[in-house]
Amino acid sequence: MPDYAHPEVLVSTDWVSKNLADTEHVRVIESNEDVLLYATGHLHNAVHADWQTDLQDPEVRDVISKDQFERLCSRLGIHPDTTLVFYGDQSNWWACYAFWTFKMFGHRDCRVMDGGRAKWEAEGRAMTTEVPSYPSTDYTAGEGHPEIRAMRDDVLAHMKEGGAMVDVRSPAEFIGEISHAPHNPASEAAMRAGHIPGASNVPWSRAAASDGTFKGRDELEAIYLEEQGLEAGDETIAYCRIGERSSHTWFVLTYLLGFDDVRNYDGSWTEWGNLVGVPVEKGLPEDDGTLAA
């Protein structure tokens, strides 16, 4: 992965295959949309961290607290210097979300397995249903990185300043044409449809190749820099519906393209589309002829 700005955070299935036995230094973590998928079979020595039940607080709508994070790491046998490798379903959405969460709590060495679970399976590599168990640790989180997360007030201020924003949802969601299918309460998750004024629309999937791996740096630059006019030195906020697809784009901008200051707005549209009194824009941005992509 030599071309990327921070190539060390992306590892290949080959690398994982060669290193997953080194459980003293490496912990492989599966994070999926589907909570049962890990139990159907996973990489040898891989542990499971579920975005809903492990990484989010069950009571407050928030990520887990520092205490909860330390307990999670201790339970999974992680030390502060353990190399963590995240992978999962859905082109690594939740792997990137987990990576982002661990980074926020300051874990130093986090990586993503390029292509995720689908690539591993497509290559016919070994899987197991055996759940590994590691001696628990007494993990103490160091200095965190709260600056990689945007809260709603940050987003509002950023919007007012005309800051760069990437809405990574589908064009239909961005334009505000959410189909209100009859008898479908899920479509009511947000009271308003549309996007945050000033955001560009770059669906997350444009950063992914057909096999779920990330596109090469040239292709990514063509999309985010040349086509969308984003700049690596600008403060940029990514959002989607619930913050997972935008973790994928946050990862791309931060680590593959080397943007200095990207924040993931994990409240995303389910928060913004329900806030009272915030501006909502509908329709296509004036200068963008690429939405059909």
Partner: protein, 161 residues
């Protein structure tokens, strides 16, 4: 809920989380293949539940003598949807349409798997369940749909009382 669903709920709700996972995976494994006659429709994108992240397709059938048969296609990499929808397909196969309309909206809580899934997935499944009920009501025709709404309303009244 009907007796078969109650039986499945009682079994699921009475076991610890590890065993719930095993039971749900068993339901996912038993998920029946989509009958041949619906495969062309599926390939054409009909019956797709768009609210769902996974590719879920529903083809509800109501026979002339008012028996429900739910057919669905859900990929193997979405075992949770396969398990939950599979449970409903199993419990309501051959049932009258009005019975499907009375499937409780808080089904996941009654199955005792709400904690396993977390709040966001519960919301997602609420959409799937609503779509399923609506699809069956639609297949049953207008008379039955009215009956369905009535029993759903009664159900809600009961919940708020």
């Amino acid at each position: 809920m009907n007796d078969r669903l109650q039986e499945i709920a009682d079994e699921l709700a009475s076991v610890p989380r590890d065993l719930q996972v095993e039971l749900l995976l068993e339901h996912a494994r038993q998920f029946p293949p989509l009958p041949q006659r619906y495969q062309a429709a599926r390939d054409a994108g009909l019956g797709r539940v768009h609210e769902c992240q996974a590719e879920v397709y529903f083809f509800p059938e109501v026979t002339d003598d008012q028996h429900v048969h739910i057919h669905a296609d859900i990929p193997g990499h979405a075992p949770t949807q396969r398990a939950l929808v599979g449970i409903l397909m199993d419990a309501y196969d051959g049932a009258p349409p009005a019975e499907v309309a009375t499937i409780p909206n808080d089904l996941l809580r009654l199955l005792g798997v709400d904690g396993l899934l977390g709040p966001q997935r519960q919301r997602g499944f609420a959409g799937v369940l609503a779509r399923l009920k609506h699809g069956v009501a639609e297949a049953a025709g207008p008379a039955s749909e009215a009956a369905g709404s009535k029993s759903e309303a009664a159900d809600q009244d009961g919940a708020s009382a």
